[in-house]
C-alpha cells in the first residue's frame, strides 16, 4: 500500500492547503485563490496540453494534461468542455499523481511455488491463453469467465465482448457496473425500452428545482453539484435533498428531508397519490404517451445460489393504478417512512406545479437497492404523470458512478445478457453481432449466464475454473467479501488480474498483468449524459504495462482466434471504434465519427447529421421521433412509456435486537471507489487517510463511544474494526451507521449482504443489520 514519499510537515501542509482550496472550488464555482492552484506549474514550463476525460467519476469532466519531456506534470480543467467549463474537483486536479506511485505494476507476475515471479509479458500471456484453452477443453466454455469494468475504455469493453461471446461463445462476461448501474438500466428498459437518460447536463441551467434522491452529489458528483449551486445563487433554483443521512449535499441544499431506509418506494408512491388527488396529472400527456402495467411482487432477494427471476408484466388501467395508490396516502406512508405528511405534500407540490421545472437526480441510493428497478420505475412515474420529461430543465436523470459505466458497460454491453446492440436473448441482435464480428450466428449463446454476484458464487462453488478481471477490485467492492475472498483463493479457480496497482484482488491472482493507466493509452469513455469522449495517448506506460484491449487481443490470437482480431498495435483503438460504431448506426443511437471526437471535448449521442441530440424522445430535439406527436418513446414498440405499479416491500434484513443498526455504505469525495488509485495520491490520502464508522451522536453517547474510538461493526456475515466518527463528514439518522468502502485495510464489505434486485441483479450496499461494540 501507499507509503508517503516524504514526511516533511511542510509537504503535508501544502497538500492540506491545496485540498481546502479544491474543496472550495467544488462549493463555489469560479472561486479564485490568487492562482495558487497553478503555482505548482513552473513559470517557464513549456507544457504540451492534451485533452481527455477525467478518470475518476461518471460526471466526465474534460481535463487538460500538461506533459513535459514525456512526463505528465499538471492537470487543469478543460474550459472547452461543456461538462465542467474548466472546473475540476479535488480528485480531478490530482489524478495524474498516482501513476508515479512506487508500487506501480510494471511487469507481469506469475505465481510459482507460492511466490510471485517477474515474468516477460509475452510469456505471461502464453500462460493465460494456455490455461484458458485447457480449461475450455476440459470443462467446457462456461467454465471460463471475464469480469471487467466501467473504467475500461470503449474499445476494451468491445474486444472483451467479442472475445468472450463471439470467439469463445460464452456469455460468462459481466462487469462491476452490475454493482452500480444495473438497476438504472433495468429501470430505463422497463419504463422506456431504451437505456440511458433522455436529458443532459444542460438541464441544470433550466430547472427550477433539483430533487436529489439518496444522492450525495456534493461528494460524488461535485462538479455537477457546483453547477447546481451556481444556479441556486444566480437564478434562485432550489435543491431538495431526500436522503437517509445528512451530508455535505444536505447542508448546501435548500431543504433536507430524511427517510427511513427502503421507504423511498412508499414515498414515491405517495407523491404520485398526491399528484392524482390534486389533479396535477398532465392528462393529455399520459393519455397520448403512457401505458400502465404491473409485475410480480414478493420476488425474493436473490440470497440463495442459482436464484432466478423473470418478471411477468400485465397491463392495467389508470383506475386500477389509482386504486393501488390508496395504500400510499401521505398519512399512511408518513408512519413508517418517518417523512412528515407536510414534507411528502411539499415534494408532491413541487412535481405537481405545472409552472416549475424539476430534475430528479439519483445514483447509488436508488440503484443499490433490493427493489432498485422498482424505485427507478417509481421516479419515472412521477415525471410521466406530470409530463415533466425530455424537456430542458424537466426530467429524471440517473447519474453514473464510473467514467464509462455508460459508454462501455451499458453501450458496448459488457454484461452477461448484453450485446453491443440489444441482448443475447434476441435473435435479431445476435444475428447482427454475428455479422459484424464475422462469426457463425450459432456461436453466440442465447441465454445469459452469471451476473456479478452469481459469477463469484460460481467461483466459490467451483463451477468457474478460470476468471480474468480487469480494472476492477472485486475483493474490496463485492458485497459479502467474507464469502468471495476465500472463494477466489480456492485452487479450483485460476485467477488472472490485470491492473495498474496491486490490490487485495491481485493478492489472490495466479497471474498479474500490468495495465496501462488511462492517459498512457488512447481510448474513449462515455459519461452520464451520453457524451462520448476520446483521448490520445499522452505518455508512455512504464515497463511492460500494456493496454487491456491489446492484452485481450494477444490472448485471443494465441487461442487461435487471430482472424477475428485483425487490428494493428498502433491503430487498434481507431479500428475497433469504427467496427463498433456499426452496431449503433441510425438516428436512435448514432455515434459521432472519430474525427469529430478527436476535435471536440466530447459529443452526445444520438449524433445525427452532424448534430448531438440533447433531449431524446422530444420531437423538437430528437430526429428519431417519428409518430407525428410532440413526444415519442420509441424504445417501446407502441411508442409509449410505462407507468409501473410497484409496491413498497421491506428490506431483506432489518435491524433487530441482536443487530440493532442499519449499515449504510458509500463513498467520500477524496477517494475513487476502492481507493487503489486515490490512496496513492498524497493529497487525497492525507485528506482522508482511512475509513471510519459514522454514528448519530445520541447512539454514540448511549454506547459510550467517542470520536476516534475503535469500534467493531459486525453482521451475521463478518466484522470490521474502524474508528468512530461523530459529527464530522456526515450524520446518519438515529439507528443507522455509515461506513465508506474505499479502505482495503478496513473491509466493510465483509459485513454487507449479497441480496440484490431480482430484476437488475444489482446488490444492495445500503441496508443490512449490524451490531457495534467498542473494542
Amino acid at each position: 500500500m501507499y507509503r508517503s514519499v516524504t514526511n516533511r510537515r511542510s509537504f503535508i501542509k501544502k497538500m492540506a492547503m491545496l485540498s481546502a482550496m479544491t474543496a472550495a472550488a467544488s462549493m463555489f464555482p469560479g472561486i479564485v485563490f490568487a492562482s495558487e492552484q497553478e503555482k505548482n506549474i513552473p513559470e517557464d514550463a513549456n507544457l504540451d496540453w492534451k485533452k481527455g476525460p477525467c478518470r475518476f467519476c461518471g460526471v466526465g469532466c474534460g481535463i487538460l494534461v500538461g506533459t513535459e519531456n514525456g512526463k505528465a506534470v499538471a492537470v487543469k480543467g478543460d474550459p472547452q468542455s461543456s461538462v465542467n467549463k474548466g472546473l475540476l474537483c479535488v480528485k480531478g486536479y490530482h489524478q495524474i499523481m498516482c501513476i508515479q506511485s512506487k508500487d506501480r505494476l510494471t511487469h507481469a507476475l506469475v505465481k510459482r511455488n507460492g511466490r510471485y515471479v517477474k515474468t516477460p509479458l509475452s510469456e505471461a500471456l502464453d500462460i493465460v491463453a494456455d490455461k484458458m484453452k485447457s480449461t475450455i477443453d476440459t470443462h467446457g466454455k462456461d467454465a471460463v469467465a471475464m469480469y471487467t469494468s466501467g473504467q475500461s475504455t470503449i474499445p476494451e469493453g468491445y474486444v472483451a465482448s467479442k472475445f468472450m461471446k463471439g470467439a469463445i461463445g460464452t456469455n460468462n462476461l459481466d462487469c462491476n457496473a452490475r454493482l452500480c448501474m444495473a438497476s438504472a438500466v433495468a429501470g430505463f428498459l422497463t419504463t422506456f425500452g431504451a437505456d440511458e437518460p433522455m436529458g443532459c447536463y444542460e438541464d441544470i441551467d433550466h430547472a427550477d428545482y433539483f430533487v436529489t434522491w439518496g444522492n450525495n452529489m456534493a461528494e460524488m458528483h461535485p462538479v455537477l453539484f457546483s453547477r447546481m449551486l451556481e444556479q441556486k445563487g444566480t437564478r434562485g433554483a432550489k435543491i431538495i435533498d431526500f436522503a437517509t443521512r445528512t451530508t455535505r449535499s444536505s447542508t448546501a441544499s435548500d431543504k433536507s428531508i430524511l427517510f427511513e431506509p427502503q421507504t423511498d418506494l412508499a414515498v414515491a408512491n405517495a407523491i404520485c397519490y398526491e399528484i392524482i388527488k390534486n389533479n396535477w396529472v398532465n392528462t393529455s400527456f399520459v393519455e397520448k404517451h403512457c401505458n400502465f402495467s404491473k409485475g410480480i411482487t414478493n420476488m425474493g432477494y436473490g440470497l440463495e445460489d442459482n436464484y432466478t427471476f423473470a418478471d411477468k408484466p400485465e397491463p392495467i388501467d389508470f383506475e386500477a393504478y389509482k386504486e393501488f395508490l390508496k395504500d400510499y396516502s401521505p398519512e399512511k406512508v408518513s408512519k413508517y417512512s418517518k417523512v412528515s405528511v407536510k414534507d411528502i405534500k411539499y415534494l408532491a407540490a413541487i412535481y405537481g406545479d405545472p409552472n416549475k421545472k424539476v430534475v430528479s437526480y439519483w445514483c447509488m441510493g436508488m440503484n443499490q437497492h433490493t427493489r432498485g428497478t422498482w424505485i427507478n420505475n417509481l421516479v419515472y412515474n412521477i415525471h410521466l404523470l406530470t409530463g415533466k420529461i425530455s424537456q430542458p430543465g424537466n426530467g429524471p436523470f440517473s447519474l453514473t458512478g464510473q467514467p464509462s459505466a455508460c459508454g462501455t458497460a451499458r453501450e458496448v454491453g459488457t454484461f452477461t445478457h448484453k450485446l453491443p446492440k440489444g441482448v443475447v436473448t434476441n435473435e435479431k441482435n445476435r444475428r447482427l453481432a454475428a455479422k459484424i464480428w464475422k462469426v457463425p450466428y450459432e456461436r453466440i449463446p442465447s441465454k445469459p449466464t452469471y451476473h456479478a454476484t452469481e459469477m463469484f458464487r460460481a467461483v466459490d462453488r467451483g463451477d468457474i475454473k478460470f476468471i480474468w478481471t480487469q480494472a476492477t477490485n472485486p475483493l474490496v467492492s463485492l458485497p459479502k467479501t467474507s464469502r468471495y475472498r476465500p472463494g477466489m483463493q480456492k485452487d479450483s479457480c485460476f485467477v488472472v488480474v490485470s491492473d495498474v496497482f496491486p490490490t487485495p484482488t491481485s493478492d489472490v491472482a495466479d497471474v498479474i498483468l500490468p495495465a496501462a493507466w488511462h492517459i498512457e493509452k488512447s481510448g474513449l469513455y462515455g459519461n452520464s449524459e451520453r457524451r462520448t469522449q476520446h483521448w490520445d495517448k499522452m505518455v508512455e506506460a512504464p515497463g511492460e504495462a500494456t493496454e487491456d484491449a491489446w492484452m485481450f487481443i494477444e490472448v485471443a490470437r494465441r487461442m487461435g482466434y487471430g482472424d477475428l482480431f485483425p487490428y494493428s498495435k498502433e491503430n487498434h483503438v481507431e479500428e475497433i471504434y469504427n467496427e463498433y460504431r456499426q452496431f449503433h448506426e441510425g438516428p436512435k443511437h448514432g455515434m459521432a465519427p472519430l474525427e469529430v471526437l478527436k476535435k471536440e471535448s466530447g459529443v452526445i449521442w444520438p449524433y445525427v447529421k452532424g448534430k448531438s441530440t440533447q433531449w431524446r424522445f422530444n420531437s423538437t430535439y430528437d430526429p428519431a421521433c417519428s409518430n407525428g406527436e410532440d413526444f415519442h418513446f420509441y424504445g417501446k414498440p407502441d411508442g409509449k412509456a410505462v407507468i409501473w405499479q410497484r409496491p413498497f416491500e421491506e428490506a431483506p434484513e432489518k435491524p433487530d435486537q441482536e443487530y440493532p443498526f442499519w449499515l449504510n455504505t458509500g463513498r467520500v469525495v477524496e477517494h475513487w471507489h476502492t481507493g487503489s488509485m486515490t490512496r496513492r495520491i498524497p493529497v487525497l490520502h492525507q485528506a482522508m487517510p482511512h475509513a471510519y464508522v459514522e454514528f448519530h451522536p445520541e447512539d454514540a453517547k448511549s454506547y459510550g463511544i467517542r470520536n476516534g474510538d475503535q469500534v467493531k461493526v459486525s453482521s451475521k456475515r463478518g466484522s470490521c474494526v474502524l474508528p468512530a466518527s461523530i459529527n464530522e463528514r456526515g450524520l446518519p439518522t438515529k439507528g443507522q451507521v455509515f461506513v465508506p468502502f474505499f479502505d482495503e485495510n478496513m473491509l466493510i464489505n465483509d459485513v454487507t449482504l449479497d441480496a440484490f434486485c431480482p430484476i437488475s441483479k444489482e446488490p444492495d450496499y445500503k441496508k443490512c443489520a449490524v451490531k457495534v461494540e467498542k473494542v
Binding site: 492547503m17 463555489f28 492525507q686
Partner: protein
C-alpha cells in the same frame, strides 16, 4: 501532530478582519479567496489537545460565520 485544513467562511464583508485574526495565530496558515468571503485555512498543532484549544479560539472569532473541516480526519491513526 494534527495538520488540518478548513474552509473558514467569513461574515459578509468581514473577510479581511477574519484573515487578520487568523494570521495572528501562530498555528494558522491562511489563503483568502479573491472573489468569495471564504478562506482556506491550515492548522498545525502539536497534539489533539492543542488542536481542540485552537479550534475553540478560532470559533470564537467574531468575523467567522462557519468553520468547515476539509481534511485531517479527526480520528487518531492507530
Amino acid at each position: 501532530m494534527p495538520i488540518k485544513s478548513y474552509l473558514a467562511h467569513a461574515i459578509t464583508g468581514k473577510k479581511t478582519e477574519l484573515m487578520h485574526a487568523l494570521k495572528s495565530m501562530e498555528q494558522c496558515e491562511v489563503v483568502p479567496a479573491e472573489n468569495q468571503d471564504v478562506l482556506a485555512l491550515v492548522t498545525d498543532t502539536a497534539n489533539e489537545q492543542e488542536d481542540e484549544l485552537l479550534k475553540e479560539k478560532i470559533e470564537a472569532i467574531e468575523s467567522l460565520k462557519l468553520l468547515s473541516l476539509v481534511s485531517g480526519f479527526n480520528a487518531p491513526q492507530k
